[in-house]
């Protein structure tokens, strides 16, 4: 491998990150009307514009929520702390929720990191692999004896999102071009996000028991175990019916890809 080529590429990349040109500049030829500083700056500017556009595109609602000044502050801080290590810009903002949850002034407003995290989940659902979607009839066709030990496998686009703020409600308001409500951090909120059969990304809020049920099935609990789990929320006579109702709804939403009778 070429040592001088590697040194040159290091100097170039350092310049893109820091703007410090002292190592790169001696390698560049003076040509015509455009000076070396301008020639190098074309590349640094393009690098920063590309990352900025990625943040803006992937986090459109977050940008509106923050307003211009805070958004620019976030962009500048995130780019400085996160030189791109990803092959695809699709992944560049994966650490943005973490950045916002740790970095002043954003750390004072937990809803901001939650909005960013919700937008990441939407993108994940959008890009997830395709998989079959079973109907409730497929479950009904199983022999009754198989039901208690049956495990579910979900569509790969399924995303669960838990936050302690009204981030999703604020996201919805901004999408509808309405002013979001004041931040409310009083309770946990549970959301289910998935890509439907028409390839549209959808989301609904979950009651705590619905969230627990989904987590249980994702972790591989079977129908019988889930009915037992529901005893924490419902009477013994009602619990199986609640599990069944939830299951029926998930089939209708296209969330179930496979049934594994044990």
């Amino acid at each position: 491998m070429s040592g001088s080529l590697r040194q040159l590429q290091h100097a170039f990349m350092d310049y893109l990150n820091t703007g410090s040109a002292s190592v790169l500049q001696p390698h560049i030829v003076e040509q015509g009307l455009v000076n070396v500083d301008t020639r190098m700056a074309i590349y640094r500017n393009a690098y920063r514009v590309r990352l900025r556009e990625t943040i803006e595109t992937d986090h459109e609602v977050l940008g509106i929520y923050l307003g211009d000044d805070l958004f620019e502050q976030m962009v500048a801080g995130y780019i400085e702390q996160h030189p791109s290590k990803v092959v695809s810009l699709r992944d560049y903002c994966d650490d943005l929720p973490l950045y916002l949850s740790q970095q002043a002034p954003f750390v004072q407003y937990p809803i901001v990191a939650d909005i960013a995290a919700f937008e990441r989940r939407l993108l994940n659902a959008f890009d997830a692999p395709e998989a079959p979607r079973l109907s409730f009839t497929d479950l009904q066709n199983l022999p009754a004896s198989a039901w208690p030990h049956c495990q579910l496998r979900f569509h790969p686009s399924l995303q669960l999102f838990v936050c302690q703020s009204n981030a999703v409600e604020a996201w919805q308001s901004i999408k509808a071009e309405q002013a979001p409500a004041e931040p409310d951090h009083s309770a946990h909120r549970y959301w289910l996000i998935w890509r439907g059969a028409t390839r549209l990304t959808e989301f609904i809020s979950l009651a705590p028991y619905q969230h627990a049920l989904l987590i249980g099935f994702i972790q591989g609990r079977n129908f019988a175990e889930q009915c037992e789990l529901m005893l924490a929320y419902f009477d013994a006579e009602v619990a199986p019916q609640q599990v069944l109702s939830a299951l029926q709804a998930w089939f209708e939403m296209g969330l179930i890809s496979r049934l594994d009778p044990a």
Binding site: L8, G32, R39, Y43
Partner: protein, 293 residues
């Protein structure tokens, strides 16, 4: 007449397949000979992009064009990327696969840009080895594209066209010649674009790119967000004369117009080619009546 061509058959006139046009292409099946897809846009597991890609691949010939191979980089080749590229190629069955003669990343950091290489024999030796690795892995020749550049290195010992020819020869790869990039770099570095065309090895040129750019007077930036300008159309005609009938496509990545506007621009390319090659047959220039027969 050009003999001993290494390249595949002439595909005709194509456009870049962009998200904004997915639905239009599927619904109207416009008269375009082929589409070029950006490989990285479809290296996702599923979702809408994959759905449309598969549907469009059933109706049109496709070629794959990438921006992340970093063939001129000094980090080891990214095998995860190459595996994903090969997997996509198995799904799409492209007529060919291309990327750029440049570097994009070093020490694990990605510029997301097509950064220029110094034009030296040392660079050629380095890149040719990597091209061989890629071609062995993919099981086919790849095309490498000349990039627009805004600076030149003190280290360079040869002109860009000599570098491109020598690399293609040593690596036994093919060339995707971007006519707009020649124009942009000629303006930025003060060389004669016709000299570039005159010197390039016709045997290895498999595809032309056309695109628009942003002109700032003293320099020009390859932005792909404008129509093709007249000097680039003129250069394209020179390229046809010197290099023969080569599969041609128009790239548009920003300020993207409605599909019919791009189709009109593509027809312009086909009409210019028809002037030089009167027997040219292309779907791009057929009328509705002809297609319905």
């Amino acid at each position: 007449m050009i003999n001993n061509k290494l390249t595949e058959d002439f595909l005709g006139f194509g456009l870049g397949l962009r998200t904004a046009h997915f639905e239009h292409v599927l619904q109207h099946q416009p008269k375009v000979d082929w589409f070029e897809v950006l490989s990285e846009n479809f290296m996702v597991a599923g979702g809408k992009p994959k759905y449309y890609l598969q549907a469009i691949a059933e109706r049109y010939p496709l070629v794959m064009h990438g921006v992340s191979m970093s063939i001129g980089g000094t980090d080891p080749l990214n095998m995860d990327y190459l595996k994903a590229l090969k997997k996509l190629a198995n799904e799409v069955e492209p007529k060919w696969i291309s990327d750029h003669l440049c570097w994009t990343s070093v020490h694990g950091q990605n510029s997301h840009d097509l950064l220029p290489l110094p034009y030296t024999q040392e660079t050629i030796d380095h890149v040719a080895k990597r091209v061989a690795q890629v071609q062995d892995f993919l099981g086919r020749r790849i095309l490498l594209e000349n990039v627009s550049s805004y600076l030149s290195y003190q280290d360079s010992t040869m002109d860009e066209w000599d570098f491109l020819n020598a690399l293609a020869q040593q690596a036994d790869c093919l060339i995707l010649l971007d006519i707009n990039n020649i124009y942009v770099s000629a303006r930025n570095h003060g060389f004669d674009p016709l000299e570039y065309l005159n010197k390039i090895d016709p045997k290895r040129v498999q595809q032309f790119h056309l695109a628009g750019h942003s002109d700032y007077g003293d320099y020009v930036i390859d932005t792909h967000d404008q129509d093709v300008v007249e000097p680039v159309w003129q250069l394209y005609q020179q390229a046809l004369q010197r290099l023969g009938l080569v599969s041609t496509m128009i790239e548009r990545d920003g300020n993207i117009p409605e599909f019919p506007a791009l189709q009109q621009e593509l027809k312009q390319a086909a009409r210019l080619a028809a002037k030089h090659f009167p027997n040219l047959v292309t779907r791009t220039l057929t009328t509705s009546a002809e297609t319905s027969l």
